[in-house]
């Protein structure tokens, strides 16, 4: 097997003395669509912030492309960050720039393309997330779901090879959410990008994820790692199976596949 894209080794995350999760350990392979699951407040966003280097683990190491994020030189970090695309749970759009300008920011920062080319790329990326025609709008003048999608357009502006999405489909209608899933899978396939995604949407977990980790709020550690279908069927933990069972049901799987007799 090729070297993993991301390695999380014995990581403990804490805010001050308040430990959020401890002893996390898993790897994300190149080209994987890796889902971080778990109940609300269990530390998914926190884990994502650790993986992009915004927060420092209280213990353990996080390696991306074999480089430890917290002992990397600024130069190494910059090279890594150039190939990342990130969306935040609250959007994180620059509120005083139009959508097209928002998408243009990473392009202006990291490429030598001229303005017309950058405008074309921004228009294409916005069309990809279903926002064609909204180039000149400001974030405050569009809906919450549209802001989410615009943030995603900005994240994929540079055709990154590593993407981090925090609940990209929260607040979207089922159709937009389906198209978003298709888009994520397409990006991952066509560009061979690795995607790390926090989501609660069981339908999208089953349709796009190739691997996943389940964080538990009660025990404050990861309960299981593996492809979601496999976890749904044969996780050692009832919590994980239950979490995923409702998805299997709503996705129309036969009732007999459920782990507990009814």
């Amino acid at each position: 097997m090729a070297a993993p894209h991301i390695e999380v080794r014995g990581v403990t995350m804490a805010y001050g003395r308040n430990v959020v999760q401890r002893d996390l350990g898993f790897t994300v392979g190149r080209g994987d669509i890796f889902v971080i699951m778990g109940g609300s407040g269990c530390g998914k966003s926190t884990l994502l912030k650790h993986m992009i280097g915004l927060n420092r683990p209280a213990a353990g190491h996080i390696l991306i492309d074999g480089i430890d994020l917290h002992s990397a030189t600024p130069q190494e970090l910059l090279t890594l960050q150039r190939s990342w695309g990130i969306t935040y749970q609250r959007g994180g759009l620059f509120s005083d720039l139009t959508l097209a300008e928002n998408v243009a920011v990473p392009l202006e920062q990291y490429t030598d393309l001229d303005d017309a080319e950058i405008r074309d790329i921004a228009a294409y990326k916005l069309a990809l997330v279903g926002l064609a025609g909204f180039e000149a709008y400001y974030p405050s003048n569009i809906s919450g779901g549209m802001q989410k999608r615009a943030a995603l357009a900005r994240a994929i502006a540079l055709d990154p090879t590593l993407l981090f999405f925090d609940e990209p489909s929260a607040g979207l209608d089922p159709l937009s959410s389906l198209r978003l899933d298709q888009l994520i899978r397409e990006i991952s396939e066509s560009l061979g990008a690795t995607v790390v995604i926090v989501t609660h949407e069981l339908a999208s977990i089953f349709s796009i994820a190739t691997n996943s980790v389940f964080l538990d709020a009660a025990t404050k550690t990861q309960l299981d790692v593996g492809p979601p279908r496999q976890l749904a069927r044969s996780s050692r933990h009832a919590v994980v199976r239950e979490f995923l069972a409702r998805g299997e049901l709503s996705a129309g799987a036969p009732v007999s596949e459920r782990s507990h007799p009814s």
Partner: protein
């Protein structure tokens, strides 16, 4: 048919959409077909060319054939075309005439809104006095803590320095007549009737007025004010009143504090002019009476209302973006300082007419 060869990615120079279109139009083909040639590489740059062409083909009902390209290209294009461009999505652009009109409209509606705002605050204050307002006492205490004790160091520093400046300024003139003793009178009258109230007000406009505007502006951006309004709670009672009352309660105290320290600063300078402390205190006591202190206290009350109103009003009217919050803060401080000086001038004229 167009054969795509080489590099269609990264920062390569690509033929423009128009060039590609003329190629097809020159060939008069019914079907526009792209195929991948030697060492063909692509990324989003390719799609920026294909997207306008695909849209054009849709409207002109030309068949576009991408089957000879990597399948992901067609799938990505499909996603980009899945939602038709928003037709009426004309950007809210403004012409010069619009701006000119908006300027005057804003000027009038702005003045109107300010007056209405002060009116609303007064009504809310009336309800508060009758005990029927949604104003929490704990909030008032919190804001008193914020704008009172925490402002003491900076008020102290400025007051001492202003007292010293007044003393120096006076001593240069007074020395010519050998009347250095009157330096105490000068500092006392200057601080009590004017400088203490004005300087604390300027400090508080920059410190507290700006903070009020930023707090309320951020709450506006975060939809907190919407939440408060839809809970049936008046933002004026819940947010503005505690801030304003806190400032109204604190400003007179800061004024007295500032007077005391200003006199201290003056006494320091006076000591250098051989006016000893006892002499200084005696002439200071004779220089002003309670009426003078009353005029200063009244000024500080008026200034408190002006600062809190300017800050809160700017915050409530703030837009929802981060730069709008910045503009609201700027507006709060600028308005507060302009109104401070205007109100100060007005009060001085009034005092003069009344002979106090």
């Amino acid at each position: 048919m167009t054969l795509l060869t080489g590099c269609w990615r990264g920062e390569a120079t690509l033929p423009s959409v128009t060039e590609l279109r003329t190629q097809f139009e020159a060939a008069r083909s019914e079907q526009w077909r792209f195929s991948a040639g030697d060492s063909f590489e692509w990324d989003s740059r390719l799609l920026t060319r294909l997207l306008p062409i695909a849209r054009y083909c849709e409207t002109e009902q030309i068949e576009l054939d991408l089957s000879a390209l990597p399948p992901a290209v067609a799938r990505l294009l499909g996603l980009a075309l899945a939602v038709a461009p928003a037709a009426s999505a004309a950007p809210p652009r403004r012409t010069l005439v619009d701006r000119y009109r908006a300027f005057w409209r804003n000027l009038f509606s702005g003045t109107h809104a300010s007056v209405a705002f002060v009116g609303e605050c007064t009504l809310a204050f009336g309800r508060f006095l009758r005990g029927g307002a949604n104003t929490r006492g704990i909030d008032i205490l919190w804001f008193i803590q914020q704008c009172g004790p925490q402002a003491l160091p900076i008020v102290a520093l400025i007051s001492v320095l202003v007292g010293m400046i007044l003393a120096y300024l006076g001593s240069v003139q007074l020395r010519q007549f050998g009347a250095e003793v009157y330096v105490a009178d000068l500092v006392t009258i200057g601080m009590v009737r004017e400088m203490a109230a004005l300087m604390t007000a300027v400090i508080m406009a920059g410190r507290t007025g700006a903070a009020y505007a930023a707090q309320l502006g951020a709450m506006q951006a975060n939809e907190e004010i919407d939440a408060i309004t839809t809970l049936g709670i008046s933002p004026i009672e819940y947010l503005v009143l505690p801030r304003m009352l806190a400032l109204i309660l604190v400003m007179p105290l800061l004024y007295l504090f500032s007077v005391a320290l200003g006199l201290g600063g003056g006494a320091l300078v006076a000591a250098g002019l051989d006016v000893n402390l006892l002499q200084f205190i005696n002439s200071a006591r004779e220089a002003v009476d309670l009426t003078d202190i009353g005029t200063g206290l009244f000024k500080s009350l008026a200034f408190a209302v002006v600062i809190a109103a300017a800050g809160c009003h700017a915050g409530l009217l703030s837009g929802r973006s981060s730069s709008a919050v910045g503009q609201a803060t700027t507006r709060a401080v600028v308005h507060a300082i302009v109104y401070l000086v205007v109100v100060d001038a007005g009060l001085n004229i009034l005092y003069n007419e009344l002979g106090i």
